[in-house]
Symmetry: C2
Subunit: 294 residues, 2 copies
């Protein structure tokens, strides 16, 4: 039984390599076809379109960037939808709109197929190491069918609810990530302004009630002014747009998240969109003239 993988970016390539390594028969497709070459070299087979890939596979995995990208590979010319059969299970690892997810899943269901929304966290390191966290929305029986594949690259697989719930849980994840990042930014800039030893301060506070993944993992990078991305500002901003759209639809106030969105917008306007999301602190540095490590 073959599994198809559409979207061989930095995340998808790592996940696909893990699928191949776990001895699954993998068919791949990517818009920029040269990105298929390294996976074909590992043993994957190339497809000529999402439709052709879908015709050859019961399981069709998608990992692209944004809502329009998923819509294109599903509903576009030679898209997945044109080849869905009874038994086709589409698994979408992209982080996209929950309401678009429900709409796309409905169209796939009308054609006889099924859908799981399964956004991931853990970054490119997690994709390569096979240690992603996967938040899954959809039918429990479909998740059970998909689990052998998901276990190729995910160590934490949580069923959070019906179709769309996986995307909503990813939004929850991103609200936490940026909120913790703002806290780390204000805290380290305060430490800088107070003349503290930043590494000693970090080690004094990270083990207690102040601790967070962002502080322990991005704090040292911030202190060293190392802005290489674990996750870029541009992608973070896309996810915050989904969060704010979702908050507006659901009537949930997200004042902190909205504020952070505006700070990131300023950094994007300065051309810093490809830096890591921990460069948020630069927005506060500009307000004060105080610089970390400066």
């Amino acid at each position: 039984m073959s599994v198809g993988f559409i979207g061989l970016g930095i995340m998808g390539s790592g996940m696909t390599a893990n699928l191949v390594e776990k001895s699954h028969d993998v068919v791949v497709w990517n818009r920029t076809s040269s990105r298929m070459d390294p996976l074909v070299a590992l043993g994957a087979e190339p497809a000529s379109s999402p439709a052709e890939l879908t015709a050859r596979c019961d399981f069709v995995i998608i990992c692209v960037s944004d809502t329009p990208d998923v819509e294109a590979v599903v509903e576009g010319p030679d898209g997945i939808l044109s080849a869905v059969e009874s038994g086709t299970l589409v698994i979408d690892h992209s982080t996209i709109s929950p309401s678009a997810t429900v709409r796309l899943a409905g169209r796939v269901a009308e054609a006889g197929g099924a859908w799981l929304d399964a956004p991931v966290s853990g970054g490119s390191e997690g994709a390569a190491a096979g240690t992603l966290s996967i938040m899954v929305g959809g039918d429990a029986a479909d998740l059970e069918r998909a689990t052998p594949y998901l276990e190729s690259y995910g160590t934490s697989i949580t069923h959070v609810g019906p179709i769309g719930a996986g995307q909503q849980a990813k939004i929850v994840n991103q609200i936490l990530v940026v909120g913790n990042q703002l806290a780390a930014s204000e805290a380290l800039l305060y430490a800088q302004g107070a003349g503290l030893d930043l590494h000693a301060t970090l080690s004094a506070v990270e083990g207690g009630a102040a601790g967070s993944w962002m502080l322990s993992n991005r704090g040292p990078q911030m202190i060293e002014r190392d802005w290489r991305p674990g996750f870029t500002i541009d992608l973070q901003q896309k996810d915050l747009r989904l969060a704010l759209d979702g908050g507006a639809e659901l009537g949930v106030p997200l004042p902190g998240t909205a504020f952070i969105f505006q700070l990131y917008r300023g950094l994007q306007a300065q051309g810093l969109g490809s830096e890591g999301n921990h460069a948020l602190v630069k927005a506060l540095e500009e307000l004060s003239g105080i610089r970390l490590g400066g």
Copy 2:
């Protein structure tokens, strides 16, 4: 050699009990004298005033609430200052103003004594279990003298800089605590609005880049609407006032912290100051009509 302990509130009582248990000779004083009784029953000796306690002890530990409370036990009638001798080391575990700390330490130094500012984190559980984190400002040699006592109730003791630096590091700690708390509040309220299973969502996100101590420890309490304090809003608000005062003095912008301060102010005005700091989410619930667990 005796050690004196001034301030037998919920934190100080636990710390003093640990000192007595580790076989130190402990002298205690508390403004409300009945709070000395349980410690005297354990083997501590009561003093009649901070001055009398200081005359009997080379090490004088303070653990009270706010800047004026420390000023009163140091500079007030029958205060520590009137009995400081060469060799007296004052160790202040209270969370108070860094600039007041520098001023008080200067007065003690003029009288021949020394000062360590050593605010703690870890809450009443940490005080009782002897597992506090202690952030210390002052002279390294003084910290070395004090370490046998600090180790009675602290497992992480970090020297972060000169006098005042301990208080500044505690402010860093508190900026992180409330920022992570706002993120947890927005995230869980979003999850509630989206109809997600909150416990499943929490478990899907807490192990990754979204993780924080506040989310893992206060998130479950928030979901259950259990507002019992690990740390009260009133004390949290006092610490945020120190943070905002410090930010103003140092020229460090703290927009997130200032926003959270205002939200807590609203909750205090509603009479919720004795609830836990994780009741911050109630400020967002009121804006939306959506309630966690509702």
